[in-house]
Every structure is written in C-alpha cells, then in structure tokens.
Amino acid sequence: MSFLKRFPPPSDGVRHQQPDTEALLAGRSLGSGTLYIAESRLSWLENSRVGFSLDYPTISLHAVSRDLSAYPREHLYVMVNAKFEEETKETPMTEGEEDDSDDDVEPIAEFRFVPSDKSALEAMFSAMCECQALHPDPEDEDSDNDYEGDEYDVEARELEQGDIPSFYTYEEGLSHLTAEGQATLERLEGMLAQSVSTQYNMAGVRTEDSIREFEADAMEVDIAPVVAGQFEDAEVDH
C-alpha cells in the first residue's frame, strides 16, 4: 500500500492508544499495529513503524460493530471521505455499470480496526467521538453561527436598567469581559460543572483534564435535581 509512511507515533493529546490492532482497508489487511486516537488526528502504525494518519474532518462516521453476521470480528469501523490507493480488482468500468452515480458521489474509504482486546472498543469509540467534536466543520455555511440575534440586542436595550444584568450573546458578552472577567467566567463554569457532577473532586479549579473528562461525559451528566422543580414553574409562565 503506497500510502503507508514511516513516522513517529504521536505523543501529544493521545486520548487512547490500542496496541495489537489490525487495520483493514476495503477488506484488505494492512497488518497488526497500534491505533493512536489523538486530538489532532487518528494514526495507525504497524509494528514495523510504517502506517497512516487520518484527519478528523475527513472522517464522516465511526462505529462499533459487533454484528458477526455482517463482519466476522468485532471492530471499530471508520468511514473516510477520501480515496486511498488500494490494489483492488474492481475496475472503473465495472463500478460504472453497477452504479452510474458513482462518478458524482464522493469517494469513500472504509477502514476497520480490529483490536485483539474487544473490550476496548467502547473506549476507542468514545475517544474518537471526543476528538471528532474538537474538529467542527469549518465549511459549515448552512448554519448561522454569527450570533447576530437582533432580538437579543433589543432585549438588552429594554432591560438595561441599573444593576440588572443585560443578556449578552456569546461574542458580545465575551468582548465585555476583561481578562479577569474571563478568568472568572471560566472558574464559574467550572464550578457549575462540579455542582452537577459528583464524580470530580477538583476544589474549584477547572483543569484541562477535568474539562476533557467532564465534557466527554457530558451526555451522562444528569442535572435532574435542578430540572424537577422548574417544569412546574415554566408551565405557569406559559
């Protein structure tokens, strides 16, 4: 496989490392090696130190497959929006006959990572989810993330009275904060994080680790105690 290169294993931001993992591309085995799930990219290095890396923006999806009837071994499936050179027997003509739209469709490459330790699949999957979330789509033109929110400006003006705080959108609010204010914001967010999470005992200090772990578990954190009383109130308002 000509896309395999020699490079040192990543050392920074490695969320998960899985040795004894076989890598397959389009069904062909590339050998056994170590999968490195790092914040900057996904890398796999065969035991002889050649391997490849995938950038998260090119990864469309990843999944844990335990369906042995679909594929005989439990693995981490990764679909990439890119073409990789592969020695395949499929000719362009054959593909064209079967599916005319192939030329218009983006290329995809399917990787499977089969760890010898199947119980690691959950951790591998979660680590990839976390890393993917660190690479939002920079070309996202559909969604309006400009925070222009005219309605918010109107409210802020209407409600600007004395010491009642105005309602800032993210960018506006942040620009009003001094460096100290921003530090306070971060500390308070960290405190909020702890008030709803009993697992983390960092006394008021929001370290990188606790942010990472906390956001990783964000979906499991349940702020139900705060929620319970609120619904009734909300209905009254409506």
């Binding site: 990864i59 469309s60 999806l61 990843h62 999944a63 844990v64 497959s65 335990r66 369906d67 009837s69 679909a70 594929y71 499936y77 929006n81 599916d99 983006e106 995809i108 699949l121 959950e122 999957f125 990839m128 989810c129 993917q132 979330a133 939002p136 789509d137 070309e139 996202d140 969604s143 309006d144 993330n145 925070y147 929110g149 309605e151 409210e155 409600l159 009642i164 309602f167 959108t169 993210y170 914001l185 967010e189 909020l192 994080a193 008030s195 906390f214 956001e215 964000a218 979906m219 954190v221 349940d222 702020i223 705060v226 929620v227 609120q230 619904f231 109130d233 909300a234 308002d237 409506h238």
Partner: protein
C-alpha cells in the same frame, strides 16, 4: 434534560434548530446521510455542530446492505436528514431545551432571570 456544558455550544444551539435534535435524546429515529446510507437507532446525543451519536443502530449502506452497529457517531456535515418521530411535539421539545439552557445560564439568579426575560420571544 441534558445541556451542553460549553457556553459556546449552548449559544449555538439556542440560535439554531439543532436544539430540536438535541431534544430527541433517548428517542429512536432514522438519520439519513449525504451518501444515501441511513442509520436507525436511539439518539444518545447531538452536539451543537449536529454531530449525532446513536446506539443500537441498524445501518443500511448506500448499496442497501443492512448491518447492526452497537454505536455510531456521524459528523453533522455528513447528515442529510434527521427524521423527527411522529409522536414528538416539536414546539414543546424546543421550549424544553431552551428552558434547560436558561436554567443553566441563570443558575445563580434563577428567579430574577425569569422575571427579567419573559419567554414571549420564544412563543
């Protein structure tokens, strides 16, 4: 009701319909991808960038082959449609999500917050 713990993500969600998708957490639905494959499963989470995590997935690839996946994460960029289950009350779901965000935002002065910012603009 779970809300993102990132201020940036809460703000994005509040300003976009992704907030509706976040309200689908726990529900079973189908996500159609750009490459015309589809994933049907239970929504574990949806973040502000519309990255969707599903569990107990039945995946139909673009050739039509069906397989089961324990968990699936698909990037927002690659999603074409997310089906909203018929039984979901869209308006109520959006409002509940917004309330959850506001509770987090005003956790220090909750009551004061509610009187100051009537929900009129969300109606």
């Amino acid at each position: 009701m779970e809300v993102s713990h990132s201020l940036k993500e809460r703000t994005i969600a509040e300003n976009s319909l992704v907030i509706l998708l976040q309200g689908l957490r726990g529900r079973v639905t189908t996500v159609e991808l750009r490459d015309e494959s589809a994933a049907a499963g239970r929504v574990t989470s949806v973040d502000a960038f519309m990255n969707v995590r599903l569990a107990e997935v039945t995946f139909t690839d673009r050739q039509g082959a069906v397989s089961q996946l324990d968990e699936l994460f698909v990037t927002g960029r690659n999603i074409r449609y997310v089906h909203i289950p018929d039984e979901v009350d869209i308006r109520a779901t959006i409002e509940e999500q917004l309330q959850a965000i506001h509770r987090v935002r005003y956790f220090g002065g909750r009551d004061k917050g509610r009187r100051e910012f009537p929900h009129a603009k969300h109606k």
